[in-house]
């Protein structure tokens, strides 16, 4: 493979590079043992090294000077230049081959990144590595590396080993040709170069121009289609049969069908057995189905799928796909729709729906997918999203904005007010200065300097007057804005208050009695705990007494015959009591669970009521009243389990 040996083969290459590469290249045994990750890292390092410019202009100048100082002639210099150019050319060719090979063999993730960069570069004429640097926020060195790699992307060629410096172009061409041929032979999911493919939202199918098969097993396959720079993953595409092919096939099927119908008629006339007739009828039906499918390609799946569903249902245990795999099978539109859902809804889909067998999901997606997804409101209602919309009325971000009175000018009510008062301060300051100047003017004593001082005062007054005019204009505009902003916030608050009052009218009548009843329930639950502990103590005591009496009875041999019966009765009583205690405990635990669920369900509404009350400024002075209520209703579960 040229990756390892190319750089070291450059006999005339820069000595620094040669030595570094010689040091970094491991022995063949080591290469066999090293992990792909280590190898990849080493090769990446090598690429960054190779991408360095072989000779800068400064280096060329130095070289010339050095040659001159050594007493070389101009002819010698020309020879050196030629040799250098030859070397650089060879170096460049080998670098290209190496890069292509590198991209070709790099892991999928890396290739996808390079692909992304290449697609971006394709959109920019005369692109440079700086474009990548800006777009993907890369450092210059990495951007340069990706730029070089992106240039070679989608041109995988067989590595060539140039023996003569003049030949590499031919061998490279051969390599490319071979690759093109092999690319034409490639076929993925029925897609090959020249076949027509379609994505769900394309109006017309497009022709495949290249097939990219993953290097590593399990990797994704891509195809490049006409008019699109970026390769597309094959799972997003469907193969479309060319119209001519379909027509030819349909014609053939029709002919076959006619022939079979004739055969069937003849067999019927000849009085063949039922078995033969049935077989022939089956063939005719199959051909009819084929014909229907070709004539109506959109309708084709129904009977087939029904069959498929039946087949699948028989082996549901075997077909267990991951949600991600199943998601891949859903059409792109539906997939996008699903992925845009809120996180909780998506979680619900993933856990409750995507875990179902594939055939159920397929049928679901086909029949009710869109309807169901559109009715997200229903999902919200069922799975605890109630109130998500009205929740925005006390959304914390919004409340923060309200506090500062966010208005359309991109500033806040507070900000506007500050600006206005600052402007007012400026106006009074200017007024003061003007008055001072006026008194100064009056106090000037007669003398030679008087005209000069008067002139100075006049200039200052003019400047201050201009400033004042500006400040007054600003006062006018700020005043208007402030007024509008206040009105806007006022209207908003009034509208919201109306809405919140309406909501409170709905919440209050339910929440108030609920809170009272929850308190009463807590008392009842405590009573139950008390009863459980009281009776279990009493029962323990009585059982101990019984045991004691039994022990006493054992001391009397004449009571032996009675003892057996008494013991039996005693055991049955113990059994009943332990069953009773266990059952009561379990019922108490159920109650705790129900109470805890009830609290969990009620708390958001209590919180909402408190926040709404704060919005309209009714009662509930403290910020924490909602939280207090929450803590007032702790899940009762913990209390009872101790009983």
């Amino acid at each position: 493979m040229p990756l390892e040996k190319n750089p070291t083969e450059i006999e005339d290459g820069p000595t620094e590079e040669k030595s570094q590469l010689a040091v970094e290249s491991p022995s063949s045994e080591e290469k066999d043992q090293e992990s792909p990750k280590v190898r990849f890292d080493r090769e990446l390092k090598l690429v960054s090294h190779l991408l360095r410019r072989p000779l800068s202009s400064e280096e060329q100048e130095n070289l010339k000077k050095r040659l001159e100082s050594l007493g070389g002639t101009e002819d010698d210099l020309r020879k050196v230049e030629e040799a250098r150019e030859k070397l650089e050319k060879k170096f460049q060719q080998q670098k290209d081959v190496f890069l292509q090979e590198f991209v070709h063999q790099s892991p999928d993730e890396m290739r996808h990144t390079i692909n992304e960069h290449a697609s971006f570069l394709a959109t920019i004429p005369n692109s440079t590595s700086e474009d990548l640097e800006r777009e993907f926020a890369l450092d210059p060195e990495t951007a340069e590396l990706y730029f070089q790699l992106a240039k070679t992307f989608r041109e995988p060629t067989e590595p060539t080993e140039p023996t003569e410096p003049t030949e590499p172009t031919e061998t490279a061409k051969e390599g490319q040709k071979q690759d093109e041929e092999s690319s034409e032979d490639k076929e993925v999911d029925g897609m090959k170069v020249g076949s027509l493919v379609k994505m769900s939202f394309w109006k017309e199918p497009r022709r495949v121009v290249e097939v990219i098969i993953p290097e590593t097993p399990g990797g994704s396959s891509y195809v490049v289609v006409e008019g699109m720079a970026k390769p597309i993953i094959t799972s997003d595409l469907e193969t479309v049969l060319p119209k001519e092919d379909t027509e030819n096939k349909l014609k053939k099927v029709k002919e076959q069908l006619q022939a079979k119908i004739d055969e069937l008629n003849k067999a019927e006339e000849a009085g063949e057995s039922d078995k033969i007739l049935e077989a022939k009828l089956k063939e005719v039906r199959e051909l009819e189905n084929q014909k229907d499918r070709l004539e109506n390609p959109d309708k084709k799946s129904e009977p087939e799928d029904a069959q498929e569903n039946q087949d699948n249902s028989q082996e549901t245990v075997k077909v267990v796909k991951t949600p991600e795999q199943i998601l891949k099978e859903i059409s792109l539109d539906n997939r996008n729709l699903i992925q845009k859902l809120p996180e909780n809804t998506w979680k619900f889909f993933r856990d409750k729906i995507l875990r179902t067998p594939a055939f159920v999901l397929k049928a679901f997606a086909r029949k009710i997918g869109h309807k169901f997804l559109k009715n997200v409101g229903e999902v919200h209602r069922r799975y605890g999203f109630v109130g998500s919309r009205i929740g925005v009325l006390y959304n914390s971000a919004l409340v923060d904005r309200e506090k500062t009175g966010w208005v359309r000018y991109g500033t806040s009510l507070e900000g506007l007010q500050n600006k206005y008062s600052q402007n007012e301060e400026l106006i009074s300051e200017i007024k003061g200065s003007l008055e001072e100047l006026k008194s100064e003017e009056e106090e000037i004593e007669e003398g030679a300097l008087k005209p000069a001082i008067l002139l100075k005062i006049k200039h200052t007054q003019e400047r201050l007057n201009a400033k004042m005019k500006k400040a007054l204009d600003k006062r006018q505009s700020l005043g208007n804005r402030l007024e509008e902003a206040k009105a806007r916030v006022g209207i908003h608050e009034a509208r919201r208050s109306v809405m919140v009052k309406e909501l409170l009218e709905k919440i209050e009548p339910n929440i108030e009695p609920l809170l009272k009843d929850i308190e009463a329930l807590k008392v009842e639950r405590e009573k139950l705990s008390d009863a459980i502990s009281k009776y279990s103590d009493k029962l323990d005591e009585e059982q101990a007494k019984l045991k004691e009496t039994l022990e006493k009875m054992k001391k009397f041999p004449r009571l032996k015959s009675f003892l057996k019966d008494k013991k039996k009765v005693h055991e049955s009583k113990i059994k009943r009591i332990s069953g009773l205690t266990r059952e009561t405990q379990s019922q108490a635990t159920d109650i705790d669970q129900r109470l805890s669920n009830l609290n969990e369900r009620a708390n958001p509404w209590i919180e909402m009521r408190d926040k709404f009350k704060r919005i309209i400024g009714e009662g509930l002075d403290s910020e924490t009243s909602g939280e207090e209520k929450e803590t007032e209703n702790p899940p009762a579960g913990q209390e009872a389990t101790s009983a």
Binding site: G387, R496, M499, I511, L514, D517, I532, L539
Partner: protein, 82 residues
């Protein structure tokens, strides 16, 4: 052996045992009744609270649906002037 042949002490022991058993039975019955009453009372009350919450949620869902646009506009649009 016949009960009549027992001594007074033995008879007393047997009687004590029987009376203790009767006490135990009574206590168990009392417990069953008291706990059962409390449990059913609590469960009934929880049912009532749940239906109350159902009503509240349904009321709010219909309110949300009826006033969808109003609520949305109140959320932000009226403040930023859109």
């Amino acid at each position: 052996m016949n009960k009549d042949e027992l001594t007074e002490e033995e008879k007393a022991l047997l009687e004590e045992f029987d009376s203790l058993l009767a006490d135990l039975d009574k206590t168990a019955n009392d417990f069953e009744k008291e706990a059962g009453d409390l449990i059913s009372k609590i469960n009934n009350s929880i049912d009532v609270q749940e239906s109350r919450l159902d009503k509240l949620e349904n009321d709010l869902i219909s309110f949300e649906e009826e006033n969808k646009d109003k609520i949305d506009s109140l959320a932000i649009k009226s403040l930023i002037g859109k």
